[in-house]
């Protein structure tokens, strides 16, 4: 049975392990239209649920009349808060320690809020019934600006919190205040800044936007009253957490709840939260005894489920005359909407915003974040980034640019002077993080060289001169961005969600004939886990990735895990996979030793087999070992070959990168053109370069959209102005730039395979690159700061304000 022929190179290639651009196993079904998304699920007797939503951003509900709706043939039920109250489900806890109305309880606090849940035989009857539910509202004054929400006489939004002087994150100082989260030494920071040679100050706004995955959120709840089992299919980025929450809310024991995330059509943070639609579907299924499906339409999605950003970041940064940064002060006014439903680790109400010292060696810093209620939808999720990391990266990369202007210094040089140096890693940041590894200077020099930075600056100077001579109306911007991500949440000692530590897990079972199945606590939404996790395992256990099935998302079968968001799958579940693989290998070694009649220590691992040291012709392949583990008695060793690992990461991982955007801007129309976009990523060990590149393309495109036009905009009375894809900017293939990708490879020292995660880096690094390009184009004319999104009229306004329209 010994495998004699293949060479080591051939055997290694056959594994399709780490570093191989393995084609995705998922694609076979997706390209043939055989994916299985939540709206594809059909169950016998299934009903459709949908919401009556508030047209107002702030109003008291005077009455709800459901009679006409109930009279419509095919309508099964109409639920209101009154129906949920006896079950204690008219409100639900949020992931951020606040509570949220499931159905409007006396008042509504944002446009699109869920008021009643209609259950009907089909979508069409449901839509007709929604029109027949009569709700009488009394409009109340609306707050859409977090900065004015804290005015002493601002309207009270959360009457339910009256008299509560503290919330989940400490003291509340105003009726619309949620928390003040502080980190760092403010007194020391203030002192350094007060005595600095140079201080730059700026307010940087990161506008409200939305993850807007192509598939909206939805679920199918099915209560089996005979067996007492609840099955919940849904678009869940964290199915296990949903199961636990569902159990706590409903009182159904957790073993009687099965949560399944089928294929998910993109998440980007939108599908982390627990939404009223899930709760109402469950209740409706319990009430009717039939399965109930709820799927948002696009307007619902944009209006009501999980926005992102909306951070007003006020910064002061100080430096010596020659450009050494000495201190950073940041205060954020964070607009959380009507309920605090951010999906952050419990102890981090502003996520990892404290990574805002960026890639720079800043000796002292302070961050204070005031969370504030407004009449906007709840959310505040991490849209393709780790928790608030894109806000942090945008803030520091704008502050660096503003400081460069103040110092009259080249912004690339200013970065170079202040980067944390290679020999400083592991590096303790002023705001308390231990950066695990990095080599920023090498990456930066590679990037600058790749785009011919000096040449670009020369060209830009010539362009400015030509513009001033009246020979052109186009300006050239060079947008620089160097980012450090903080991903892989996270160590159980400080990261939890609803008290559950943010470990992750992998369970692997080797079959008698040497193929395997592995299950993880994560869930892919397009990242290709079924492909890449198999590659990690292939390299660890010597079984070809093609012979390893990866399964995720079914809580009845997968081990408990905290799900996929914040680039945590590779850093945490990927590590669990490697560790589980190593447990398999350890047992396999004992079996091989027995079969080869040597001591364990006489064996060494070689790609796909254990070989007797010094006797390469004596070996047992993993396939042979697997067979033996099921077929013969091995003294002192249990039959079978299985392992499970729950991995608690010792630290976060810190991917980093250098992005440069070259942009042409038509001063008269505000129209831009991306001439070149260069993205260098260092995500540590590279598991599948093809997938990494795809992640960079996609993340950079989301960054492009956000920076250049994508906005969840409200008018002054709280109407959502961008509720369809006509106005909410998702670029087509025509507008989207092409990207040049590049990399350096600095493995994480604490991750079992050195991988760091990459899916979110391009959004984190991309947004400042695009935005800085716009700013850079106008820097020669005196622009310091202008808020995103840089759509045509806003760019035009910059030019107009600078007097460039003559």
């Amino acid at each position: 049975m010994n495998d004699q022929t293949p060479t080591r190179v051939e055997r290694s290639a056959k594994l399709k392990g780490l570093g191989v651009s393995r084609k995705r196993v998922e694609d076979v079904r997706f390209t043939q239209g055989k994916g299985n998304y939540v709206d594809d699920i059909k169950m016998p007797g299934m009903l459709f649920g949908d919401f009556v939503r508030s047209p107002y951003a702030h109003a008291r509900i005077k009455s709800i009349n459901i009679d006409a709706a109930m009279a419509l043939p095919g309508v099964i039920a109409v639920l209101t808060a009154k129906d949920l109250e006896p079950l204690g489900l008219h409100w639900m806890p949020t992931l951020a320690g606040d509570k949220q109305m499931v159905l409007a309880d006396g008042k509504v606090l944002f446009q699109g809020q869920e008021v009643a849940f209609v259950v009907a035989e089909n979508r069409y009857i449901n839509a007709d019934a929604i029109d027949l539910v009569e709700v009488e509202y009394e409009e109340l004054p609306v707050l859409t600006d977090a900065k004015v929400a804290m005015a002493p006489d601002a309207p009270v939004l959360r009457e339910d919190l009256a008299g509560q002087e503290s919330g989940a994150h400490g003291k509340r100082k105003h009726h619309n205040h949620i928390f003040l989260w502080e980190i760092g030494d403010e007194a020391a920071t203030d002192e350094v800044i007060a005595n600095a040679d140079v201080v730059a100050e700026e307010t940087v706004y990161y506008h409200r936007t939305h993850p807007c995955p192509l598939e909206t959120c939805g679920c199918v709840a099915s209560m089996d009253k005979v067996n007492g089992k609840l099955t919940l299919f849904g678009t869940f980025q964290a199915p296990h957490v949903v199961r636990t929450v569902a159990s706590l809310l409903s009182g159904i024991e957790e073993h009687n709840i099965r949560v399944v995330s089928p294929d998910i059509g993109g998440g980007f943070g939108n599908k982390v939260g627990v939404y009223p639609g899930y709760v109402c579907s469950i209740v409706a299924s319990i009430v009717t005894g039939r399965p109930v499906k709820w799927v948002e339409d696009r307007m619902d999605n944009l209006m009501a489920t999980a926005f992102a950003r909306d951070y007003w970041m006020k910064g002061r940064i100080s430096a010596t005359k020659d450009g050494r940064i000495t201190g950073l002060h940041c205060h954020v006014t964070a607009d959380h909407g009507a309920f605090d439903a951010c999906a952050d680790p419990t102890k981090f109400p502003a996520g990892f915003m404290s990574i805002c010292t960026g890639s720079y060696d800043i000796p002292v810093a302070y961050l204070g974040v005031d969370g504030v209620y407004t009449n906007k939808a709840p959310g505040g999720v991490s849209y393709r980034c780790s928790f608030r990391v894109t806000e942090a990266a945008y803030f520091i990369e704008r502050m660096i640019e503003v400081l460069a202007i103040k110092l009259n210094m080249d912004a690339a040089e200013l970065r170079r002077i202040n980067f944390i140096r290679k020999e400083q890693f592991p590096y303790d940041s002023a705001l308390g993080w231990e950066y695990d590894s990095g080599d920023y200077h090498t990456a930066w020099e590679k990037a600058l060289k790749a785009v011919d930075y000096d040449g670009l600056r020369k060209e830009q100077a010539e362009r400015v001169a030509a513009f001033k001579r009246g020979e052109t109306r186009k300006l050239l911007g060079v947008g620089l961005s160097f980012f450090t991500e903080i991903v892989g949440a996270g160590p159980v000692k400080n990261c939890d969600i609803l008290g559950m530590g943010m470990f992750d897990s992998c369970e692997i079972r080797i079959h008698p004939t040497g193929s395997a199945i592995a299950r993880l606590g994560t869930i892919s939404q397009g990242q290709g886990h079924a492909t890449t996790f198999a590659q990690i395992l292939a390299s660890e256990i010597g079984i070809s990735a093609d012979s390893i099935t990866i399964e995720e998302g079914d809580t009845d079968t997968a081990p408990y895990g905290l799900g996929t968001y914040g680039s945590r799958s590779t850093p945490v579940a990927g590590a669990a996979a490697a560790m589980a693989g190593r447990k398999i290998r350890a047992k396999a070694q004992m079996i091989a030793a027995y079969l080869l009649e040597v001591h364990d220590g006489d064996l060494e691992w070689d790609i796909d087999r254990f070989v007797v040291k010094g006797a390469p012709e004596q070996f047992k392949t993993m396939t042979e070992i697997a067979y033996a583990s099921y077929h013969q008695e091995i003294p002192g060793v249990e039959p079978g070959l299985e392992a499970v690992s729950y991995y608690d990461p010792p630290n976060m991982t810190y991917p980093f990168g250098a992005y440069i955007c070259v942009m042409e801007i038509d001063v008269d129309t505000g129209v831009h053109e991306i001439r070149h976009f260069y993205a260098l990523d260092d995500c540590g060990t590279r598991i599948n370069p093809m997938i990494i590149e795809g992640q960079v393309h996609g993340g950079a495109t989301e960054a492009y959209a956000i920076a250049m036009g994508q906005e969840l905009a409200y008018d002054e009375i709280g109407n959502v102005k961008t509720g369809t894809l006509m106005d909410f900017f998702l670029p087509t293939s025509w507008e989207t730039p092409t990207y040049t990708t590049d990399f350096t490879e600095t493995p994480s020292p604490h991750h079992p395979i050195g991988a760091k995660g990459v899916g979110e880096s391009p959004n984190v690094g991309g947004v400042p690159a695009f935005s800085n390009a716009v700013h850079d184009a106008f820097r020669p004319f005196g622009l310091k700061q202008s808020h995103m999104p840089h759509d045509q009229w806003r760019i035009w306004t910059i030019a107009n304000d600078l007097g460039l329209h003559g």
């Binding site: 007709d128 307007m299 961008t722 894809l725 087509t732 025509w734 507008e735 045509q792 009229w793």
Partner: protein
């Protein structure tokens, strides 16, 4: 997004279509390509009890180019306009503009008649028809009457078309001279922030005629007589173009929306008009 219920009609000829419209009054709506109407119905912003689908009316799908006149049936799609080589040769302006409407799938469905008849100021064909000085054929209970595109639009979604009439055709002279359709938008699939159609005929360095029309810059398409007049008889030098632009801007009245504030739109309109005129002259 689910529309309310309606009765569906699919007449085989114009006469039957008119008959249904006549019988149902303002409860009936004509369905051409549907890509404006159906989304409005799905959002329940358009209430329709009787939907009259024109897809089976073969006579509305004809294109004829004869004796210097072009006649296009109302159900000719944007895709057919783009794909018709003879039309592209005779009226390249039409193809240029049609390519800037929506996206490929929408262009397969969207029709010239629907685009014209809907009365949406953001639609591109109305301005284009005004630029071409097209005549619209309106079929009604008393046969077909003609209305100039320049007289057709009364306000946003308000046109000269009566409830029991439908637009069946457009007719215009094969244009002479140079042309351009300049459109600024945020992305493919978006309506114009500002758009301008220009047709300019030159004769030995002097402008013989000029027709300038604009899209989405007022509550109707705007054909600017004065802009054309500012160019006609001139050498079309920089100052002449500037006067035409000034004249055109005096005729528009854009409103603020997600595409930007009024000052921006006025400025961009000026740029777009200038570019359209300049390019039309260059190709004249």
């Amino acid at each position: 997004m689910i529309p309310s219920a309606f009765e569906y009609h699919r007449p085989a000829d114009v006469k039957s279509a008119v008959g249904i419209l006549q019988a149902q009054g303002d409860e009936a709506r004509v369905l051409a390509g549907g890509h404006s109407l159906i989304p409005m119905m799905k959002l329940r912003m358009a209430a329709v009890t009787h939907l009259v689908d024109l897809q089976d009316i073969a006579e509305l799908k004809a294109v004829s180019i004869a004796e210097g006149k072009v006649t296009i049936g109302a159900m000719v799609t944007q895709h057919m306009l783009i794909d018709n080589a003879r039309l592209a040769a005779s009226v390249p302006l039409l193809r240029e503009a049609a390519l800037q409407i929506a996206d490929p799938q929408v262009r397969y469905c969207g029709t010239i008649g629907g685009n014209i008849a809907n009365g949406d100021p953001a639609n591109d064909m109305p301005g284009l028809m005004q630029c071409l000085d097209a005549t619209l054929g309106l079929a009604g209970p008393n046969g077909t009457r003609n209305v100039k595109a320049r007289d057709f639009y009364e306000g946003a979604y308000v046109t000269a078309c009566e409830d029991d009439e439908l637009v069946v055709s457009v007719t215009f002279d094969v244009p002479k001279g140079g042309h351009a359709y300049e459109k600024q938008k945020r992305k493919i699939g978006d309506y114009a922030t500002a758009a301008c159609a220009a047709l300019i005929e030159m004769d030995g360095g002097t402008c013989r005629s000029a027709s300038i029309a604009m899209t989405n810059l007022s509550d109707t398409p705007i054909w600017s007589r004065s802009a054309g007049a500012a160019l006609t008889g001139t050498r079309c030098d920089t100052e002449d173009i500037a006067s035409a632009v000034t004249a055109a801007l005096a005729n528009i009245n854009p409103t603020e929306d997600n595409r930007g504030p009024v000052a921006f739109k006025m400025h961009v309109a000026g740029i777009v008009i200038k570019r359209a005129i300049t390019r039309a002259i260059a190709s004249a």
